[in-house]
């Protein structure tokens, strides 16, 4: 308290920070957080690998070569081959497609849906709020892995179903955060003012509330991506996610597991890939949160 009075200049940066545009925040992130920039670069590399997978490898992800199964790493097969003779490096590249898609698509769905529901609950209040939030409570009560497993059981295997399952599991926590922000914004003077001059509710929600929830939505987005990737890999690892001969990292760990003691790289390579991408998204998300949300500052 005293320092603040004593030395306004010490805090000038944060004061500027509040009125910062998104672009400026990104520039500040670039300037101040080298780790976040590096993480963004790593993610970019993974995206390149996923997009250009067919150009980077002569093999197909499902090409079996039973004569050359369980090969150790060599110049022909950089990371060796699995129990059906599929090239592990190739499957790693194609696996990036699934992990990135699973990280981004269901997270996007859950953020959009969760935000919509959260804004409505917070803004309309009353019974609507009570019903929506009780449903969210129920969703949040489940250990997420078990809920995802049950949904996958019901829907059946396949990547679209994984998207649905993860989106269903994750929307509730987003709704909770956005709802509490909406409640705070609802009391703000400019929303009061908009109401007083008779602006329609729908317009207030879209024009005044939603834009102000955007920073936390972006932060939630980047921080939920890694947990979605981890969730998919766990589901595939347990055999209720992506199925062979598709190439998903969690699945590769699982198929490699029976040969783990003799051929550890079969499981280790995809594990490390998961770890790196999750870490990169975590660093980037942390960095974004630091520049975008003054309340959550470290």
């Amino acid at each position: 308290m005293h320092e603040e009075q004593l030395n306004p200049t010490l805090h000038s940066e944060e004061i500027i920070g509040e009125a910062e545009t998104f672009k400026n925040q990104l520039l500040r992130l670039k300037r101040e957080n080298k780790l976040a920039v590096f993480s963004a670069f790593v993610i970019f590399l993974f995206i390149l690998a996923a997009v250009f997978a067919p150009l980077l490898t002569p093999y197909g992800y499902a090409d079996e070569d039973i004569m050359n199964r369980l090969q150790p790493p060599s110049s022909e097969h950089w990371l060796g081959t699995d129990d059906a003779g599929r090239d592990v490096f190739t499957r790693l590249l194609y696996g990036a497609r699934i992990s990135l898609a699973v990280g981004i698509i269901p997270t996007m769905i859950s953020i959009l849906f969760g935000a919509m529901v959260g804004i409505i609950a917070g803004f309309v209040g009353g019974k609507v709020d009570a019903v929506i939030m009780r449903i969210a409570d129920v969703m949040l009560a489940f250990p997420s892995m078990l809920l995802a497993m049950v949904i996958m059981y019901t829907l059946g295997d396949g990547i679209i179903n994984i998207f649905l399952a993860l989106a269903l599991v994750n929307w509730a926590s987003v709704a909770r955060v956005v709802r509490s922000e909406t409640l705070a914004l609802k009391k703000s003077e400019y929303v009061e003012a908009a109401r007083c001059i008779g602006v329609k509710q729908r317009v207030i929600m879209m024009r005044h509330i939603l834009p102000n929830c955007l920073p936390s939505m972006i932060v939630l987005f980047t921080l939920n991506i890694p947990s979605s990737i981890l969730a998919e890999s766990s589901l595939s690892f347990l055999g209720v996610g992506i199925q062979l001969p598709q190439a998903a990292w969690g699945l590769m760990v699982n198929t490699g597991r029976q040969f783990f003691y003799s051929h550890p790289w079969l499981s280790l390579a995809p594990s490390i890939a998961i770890m790196i991408i999750v870490m990169a998204f975590n660093f980037l998300g942390d960095g974004l949160r630091d520049v975008m949300d003054p309340h959550l500052k470290k």
Binding site: M1, R134, I135, D137, V138, M139, A141, F142, P143, S144, M145, L146, L147, M149, V150, I151, M152, Y153, T154, G156, P226, L230, S233, S234, F237, L238, G239, V240, G250, V253, N254, R257, F260, Y261, P264, S267, S271, I274, M275, V278, M279, N282, F283, K298
Partner: protein, 307 residues
């Protein structure tokens, strides 16, 4: 205080009913006949009808729901289709193992997480801080199965210090507990660090220092208790993720716990078992959250008096 706890219990009951309903309907909107999916593709119509009748799946859904709810209230979750044993029996058999695993993992997470968080906050931006925070990020970024398999490979397979899998002795639970707790330890360390740093800025910390307390005294007697409040809330959430992780840890280490039961239920297409396992586990989590909430109320006098 009693009033707030009472309303909290009321909310919990609503959530439990909601959970029961959701599980019930999720497992019955399987496209096509649930029994047909449970069985292999080439089961004949007569068998399907017989099994449906056996499981009560031929009755209208509201009758089924009534049977399911009243049964669950009496602790009767039906009979496992694949294992031909009451689900309740299977649950009671697996439950102690999961509890043992979860408690040990929570201990690992708590002790490592809180200590690392305190040290990191103490040496803010110092060498130890960077090391611990790096490790905690590694902790939250590694998939549970990866930690589990690496521990299994190094400690058990290469060094022979601990058994690879199976077994009921405490020794067999050490590696699984570390694998499961590792993840939570990372997030607890990060949260402890950040809340502690925040609390250390509070005016009452100055007061405690002005009284002549040492740095350690200030942290332990004044800062930690306030900083632990959010950490406690998080611990309750961690119970849920511990049980999620237990599914994988139990699978990797071959522990006969509830998570493994759920995986078996899915691969055996065993609806009663899956239904019972998920319901039981979720209710456990909900009750755990309730206990944490009450504990929070007791620890924070501001909330205690609000009611």
């Amino acid at each position: 205080m009693l009033k707030s706890i009472a309303s909290r219990i009321g909310q919990t009951l609503i959530v439990i009913v909601g959970v029961a309903m959701l599980i019930f309907f999720l497992l019955r909107i399987v496209p096509g006949n649930a029994v047909a999916t449970m069985m292999s593709e080439h089961a004949d119509a007569a068998t399907i009808a017989r099994i449906s009748a056996e499981l009560g799946l031929d009755k209208p859904w509201y009758v089924q729901f009534w049977i399911y709810i009243t049964g669950a209230l009496h602790g009767d979750f039906g009979t496992s289709y694949a294992l031909h044993r009451p689900v309740k029996e299977l649950l009671l058999l697996s439950f102690p193992n999961t509890v043992k695993l979860a408690v040990l993992a929570a201990l690992v997470a708590w002790i490592i997480g809180v200590l690392a968080g305190i040290v990191a906050a103490q040496k803010k931006n110092g060498f130890l801080d960077r090391i611990f925070m790096g490790f905690s990020l590694l902790g939250v970024s590694m998939p549970v199965f990866m930690v589990a398999m690496i521990l299994q490979y190094t400690i058990a397979y290469k060094l022979h210090w601990l058994p690879i899998s199976g077994g009921d002795s405490l020794k067999c639970f050490i590696l699984p507990a570390i694998a499961l707790g590792w993840n939570s330890a990372g997030s607890i360390a990060r949260l402890t660090r950040s809340t502690l740093l925040e609390v250390l800025q509070e005016d009452y910390i100055d007061t405690a220092r002005a009284k002549g307390r040492s740095q350690m005294g200030v942290i332990v007697l004044h800062a930690l208790r306030n900083a632990m409040l959010p950490v406690l809330t998080m611990m309750a959430l961690q119970l849920s993720s511990l049980l999620s992780g237990a599914v994988i840890t139990e699978t990797v280490f071959g522990i006969n716990g509830i998570g493994r039961l759920a995986v078996d239920a899915i691969s055996g297409r065993d609806i009663p078992l899956l239904q019972g396992t998920v319901l039981f586990t979720t209710v456990l989590v909900v009750l755990g959250n309730l206990v944490a909430d009450c504990l929070y109320t007791v620890l924070d006098p501001r909330i205690r008096k609000e009611a």
